[in-house]
């Protein structure tokens, strides 16, 4: 892959900043949860939707499109804001996020016409669905690839590990799992609830190709996503080290922002930081 130019990197950063602003605005207006999780995945989503994924926002049903599954459904606001920014639907529709008689909820609802490929929200489903889709693509000799994003806490769910075994068994080199490794889950640090380490070694021992990256560094994210499969005839795991609440200093690595929404003052401070 050609190296990203500074101009390109700045472009991705700018888009991510715009999406974070949108997320902040919606969370503030609707007093909703999950701002920390949404900021944690924003850069990953930008790299996926503005670079890695083979998609056509105006032709959402085209047959061999790449599939993206947000398995950690609670980052749905980040997904919706990214889809809108990428042109899947008007940014105006974000006014209908988490409001009565609205269009979007805190977790994704299946609607391929808007780019939402799978409903999620209960953790540990997305990867199995992704394995099924990748398997079908292989059978049909389709060029389709399937990208699944899970949270680190989500990996507590045993169903993931059934899928991880399966994907390797079936040689799904068209499947990419991205772990949003922000080191937190609802009630504490991932390392203190159920430690995942050594995580990369776990994937390796299950037969996966693995790469660890900084999930907020565009050259690293795009570099990884552009070099899949990492291993011949094997699925790929991108372990993305991220920061929950990334982008707003007082939200970063502070787990109360899993569910808290900003006060008027906090909103103003966050807005100022993001507008820099």
């Amino acid at each position: 892959m050609a190296k990203l130019t500074t101009k390109q990197i700045n472009q991705y950063r700018k888009i991510a900043q715009q999406i974070r602003l949108k997320i902040l605005e919606v969370v503030y207006r609707t007093k909703g949860p999950h701002i920390g999780s949404s900021f944690s995945v924003t850069d990953l989503l930008v790299a996926l939707y503005f670079k890695a994924l083979n998609i056509k926002p105006k032709e959402t049903h085209y047959k061999n499109r790449d599939i993206f599954i947000l398995s950690k459904g609670h980052a749905n606001l980040a997904l919706c804001a990214t889809l809108a920014r990428r042109g899947f639907f008007s940014e105006n529709l974000l006014k209908r996020f988490a409001v009565n008689d609205g269009l979007f909820e805190y977790h994704p609802n299946f609607d391929p016409s808007k780019g939402v490929e799978v409903s999620s929200g209960s953790l540990g489903h997305g990867l199995s669905i992704g394995v099924g889709m990748a398997l079908a693509a292989k059978n049909e000799r389709s060029k389709r690839r399937v990208f699944v994003l899970v949270g680190d806490g989500e990996l507590d769910e045993g169903s993931n590990w059934e899928a991880i075994l399966c994907a390797s068994q079936y040689g799904l080199d068209n499947l990419v799992l991205i772990v949003d490794y922000n080191k937190f889950q609802i009630l504490g640090k991932t390392s203190e609830v159920l430690n995942l380490e050594p995580l990369a070694a776990k994937f390796k021992s299950f037969g996966w190709g693995t790469r660890e990256i900084n999930g907020h560094n565009f050259p690293e994210i795009i570099g990884a996503l552009s070099s899949v499969p990492f291993k011949k005839l094997k699925p790929s795991a991108v372990i993305a080290h991220t920061i929950k609440g990334k982008g707003i200093s007082f939200m970063e690595n502070n787990n109360i922002w899993h569910s808290k929404h900003p006060s008027e003052q906090e909103y103003a401070a966050a807005l100022k930081e993001l507008s820099k």
């Binding site: 609205g102 909820e105 409903s119 929200g121 209960s122 989500e154 507590d156 609830v193 569910s259």
Partner: protein
Amino acid sequence: MRATFIKILQKLAVRHKDIMLMTADTGYLFNDFKKAHPKQFLNAGIAEANMIGMAAGLSLTGKNVYCYSMSTFLIVRALEQIRIDLCYHNLSVKLLGAGGGLSYGLEGLTHQALEDIALLRALPNMTIFCPGDPVELEAVAKESIDHKGPLYIRFPKDNQPQIHRTSLKIKIGQGIFITKGGRVAIIATGSMLYQAKLAADSLFKKGIKTTLISMPTIKPLDIGLIKRIIKYKAIIVVEEHNIIGGLGDAVGSALMDFGYKGVFKKIGLPDKYVVRVGDYQHLCQKYGLTSEAIMNQILKLNKKYGSGFDKIK
């Protein structure tokens, strides 16, 4: 309500050293319990099936286990562990389910518990209790300690108003008459108790007297109570659950056993998955689970089956 339950449990855990409280990484209500009883608390991670299996192991070796999570993850995700590890072994593990029904409104369908009661009703040995007010909650919290067999407690949305007198003794397995009179009986459970109470009050103001029954225990059903109400001209069951398999069906089939000849109506959630975005109040309104909707249903029945059949005499 959940917080009150955990507070009561915390007090009980002082004398009952065998109590173990587990959560599947949900609920911001365990800090005090954890501080008071660090060895009696465990965060099992986001792994409900494993939590229930572990609970079975702990129970088989003498612990009195309480497992907490959001209702649908706790029950639906871990259903086979509940069926085999808890029910088949008939272990006295308590399942504390947060957010019964539509409570988690804007979180969407994945977080709403709409079929939990139906699934558990079909499991032998299971007891299902849906507290509808703080008095019912306190009763089940205290009785749960010595309850034999698996027990599911389905918490409604927080802060349900008090309906019963504080001194009222409530037992698992017993329905409670709140008002008596007229020829229409309304049976409500959990979150719908307060709405049914408001509906009954409004009907009374319109000159229509009703009998209101709270039925916190859905399984085993209070059959004795059902037998006593077959004389009513109409029986209406209200619950925040799929219309299939909940309290309505339980009451309906018991009524059939007794040869009930009157009018029977279930009020609950439709057997449909639709994307309906809204907060808890909004969804209750859309699905007709409000005092007003309940009242209108009764007025409609009144009109259909002859006026005066439930007028105050």
